[in-house]
Symmetry: C2
Subunit: 217 residues, 2 copies
């Protein structure tokens, strides 16, 4: 069991804190707002109402021995950077801070944040891609040229077996798995026939994946 502290229990901070707690770890939540504290009091191990820019208050929490401290303050850049700086000075092993802009992120890195995250920016990029390729449900970018994608099957792909489709020879695409309803087949064979609504998990070059996307009509 690990120990985490989350400073700033807004939408993002609360999500990090409740997820860690739900997975069985100890989580201390800190926020200056009474309302946010009340909202989280039954969902975290401990909660404390405090202005985390107050050094005495921060020191009194004994955060030094925690596995990681997350600073999830977006609008008050001064508070976010001041708190991050004090935490590193106090010897906290890992400080993860959320940034609201590239500039904010650069400052956080310079003053010693171990990791900087950009939740809104990253999800914005992901939504934009999913609007352009609505059938791509999820993806891992292996490098600039290769990806693994989860793709809903339709059009020309439906009703054919993997052997007939011959995606490896035609496009250089490897079918890793496919899902039908709740069941996943992690070693698909040539005789498996693709049906409408199946989800294919494929590995290939981004060009080949683009061609596969167009195949489906």
């Amino acid at each position: 069991m690990k120990q985490f502290a989350v400073i700033g229990l807004g939408r993002f901070g609360a999500s990090v804190a409740t997820t860690l707690c739900g997975l069985g770890h100890q989580v201390l939540g800190i926020d200056e707002s009474e309302a946010r504290i009340q909202a989280m009091v039954d969902r975290l191990t401990h909660v404390v109402q405090a202005d985390a820019t107050d050094e005495d208050a921060l020191r009194s929490l004994g955060l030094r021995n925690f596995d990681a401290v997350i600073v999830a303050i977006g609008h008050d850049l001064e508070a976010s950077t001041l708190i991050t700086l004090m935490l590193k000075d106090m010897g906290v092993r890992e400080v993860v801070a959320k940034a609201s802009s590239d500039l904010h992120g650069k400052v956080l890195e310079k003053i010693g944040a171990d990791r900087v995250v950009y939740p809104e920016r990253d999800m914005g990029v992901k939504l934009a891609h999913s609007l352009l390729s609505p059938r791509i449900l999820d993806y891992i970018e292996l490098d600039p040229n290769y990806s693994i994608v989860e793709m809903a099957a339709s059009g020309e792909l439906v009703g054919k077996s993997l052997r007939e489709l011959n995606l490896r020879a035609r496009l250089g695409i490897n079918v890793l798995a496919f899902r039908r309803g709740e069941a996943v087949n992690v070693s698909p064979g040539g005789d498996d026939v693709v049906q409408e609504g199946d989800v294919l998990v494929v590995l290939g070059s981004n060009d080949a994946i683009g061609r596969l996307e167009r195949l489906r009509g």
Copy 2:
């Protein structure tokens, strides 16, 4: 080339809008704040300053023929839901709205949003998982039991060939690809030796992936 409109150019909305624009599509940005409009004027196809809850103003933008309209307003739930409702009434084909809480999301679904996204919540969950499994860089959940993960190699894995490691027979884990520096090898063979800092992309049950995580010390 597609046409999108983004209402609310905060951190998330601006990220969606600039990503779509950067990929060569037309993007109309709308915000009631002069400062946000000024910040975006050179980065989007068009920008308009308007209070989107004003029905006449919204109708005058001719959004009906856009491929999708994104409503990215988080703090003013009433504005977000009112705007979403008006857009569907006007016949906009696809309305994607951001929600700040489960309750907000339920209301948006009920009034006809085609898709509801929870950027802060989802990124909070992802950060929590990455704090608990720091070597897992990215993952696709295939179903509750199987995943594809990108994992940094270390410990017992280093210095051995894939044949020696024999991960398929020992753990039922399929090594799909591995990355060393910038280069990705999408068809790894038995003779490939794992080095410190390599990233393995593997497919297996979540239990087996957990055992592999522990192997590395």
